[in-house]
């Protein structure tokens, strides 16, 4: 029952986010992160992979959720959509490392609570792909993701139009996700 309420809340936030409400969307991603993290750690632990690898998978999941969010049917439950993404991203991660492992179908209603903290030292995360981005996209993604600038800040700092910043950010994020997919083991 707890899981159902949780999914309803996710769906509510996602609908708001898809309607353009950035705050709700951010809250949703923050809520999903511990769930994804617990799921990733549980999936990677049997393969002997560290929590830092799990964080890699979490970030890849977040990117996928973001870039595919239009594919969620607003009338449909949110959980299965999320699980499909998480399962495929997990399989991708294991495949990249060349493991052959059968993966249990995860149930997010039994979320572990220990997935809260993010590891301090990140050896592998989306950051390492930043250098492969074209310079324009890299500066924008860096400014917003690392320096914490808002869109308006970036507009002022790089004297670009609002639309150009948004396009560069969106393309940069898409390119990051693509880099993940094509990464060599």
């Amino acid at each position: 029952v707890r899981g159902e309420e949780q999914e309803k809340q996710w769906a509510l936030l996602m609908r708001a986010g898809n309607a353009g409400d950035g705050d709700s969307y951010r809250r949703l991603l923050l809520l999903l992160t511990p769930v994804l993290r617990a799921n990733a750690r549980r999936g990677l632990a049997p393969a002997g992979m560290a929590d830092t690898d799990a964080e890699d998978v979490v970030q890849e999941n977040l990117l996928a959720i973001h870039l595919k969010r239009q594919s969620w049917d607003e009338e449909a439950p949110f959980g299965p959509w999320l699980r499909a993404i998480a399962r495929h991203k997990m399989i991708d991660a294991l495949r990249r490392r060349g493991r052959r492992i059968t993966l249990p179908v995860d149930d997010f209603s039994e979320v572990l609570t220990d997935g809260g903290a993010e590891p301090d030292m990140l050896v592998a995360d989306v950051g390492r792909h930043l250098e492969f981005l074209p310079p324009g996209q890299r500066t924008i993604v860096q400014a917003i993701a690392i320096d914490g600038a808002s869109i308006a800040d970036a507009v002022a700092r790089f004297s670009m139009t609002n639309g150009a910043v948004r396009v560069a950010l969106h393309r940069g994020l898409s390119a990051l996700a693509r880099k993940f997919r094509t990464e060599e083991p």
């Binding site: 991603l29 979490v58 239009q70 499909a84 950051g127 993604v141 690392i146 396009v167």
Partner: protein, 203 residues
Amino acid sequence: VKTDDLIRALAADCATRPMSLRRPFTMAMIPGVAIAFAFISRFSDRGRIFWGCSRNRDFCLRCAFLFCSLHLPHDWSCVLASRALKFAAPPPACDRSRPAGAGILAELLSVPAGLWSQKLIGTNALVCLKSIPFLGLAPLAAILFCLRQGAPEHPALAGAAAGLLAGAIGAALYATHCRTIRRFLSRSGIRWRLPSSPPLALF
């Protein structure tokens, strides 16, 4: 990049609303089907579609019927088919398989029983075997391109459905050209002709 920072960047990108899957699908299918259509009109010996339309009544009728069966409400295409076949008024509950069924029945009645198997298989089955996958290639590429933008829960099933749809498009286009089914219904003196029934049934 810390995960929280990434989330901030994603939230900032929230206003950039990606298109729903419906539009990319339409946009990709137009060139996909157009390419296949170009192939069939290029390689078909009767394929000077746009120039020789008046001399190409079979082809036009088939295209028209295919179009009707895809776009008209079920009852309309049914009425159309039964009018065309000079049948009695269609039964009130009429689904899309009826016109195809009626066409097959009329064909069977108009052809001597001994020729049924020959008519069924046709004389250029090998050509058809090669052409249909070939014609389906461009639509298949378009469909797969669209599927990549989604998150199918069962990728294998989604791929199979994509293949089936592409095959159906290929078969439908091939049916506008195939010689064997050109003589469809012609012996009974009925002037309207159906396109071959398999693509109709698939749609």
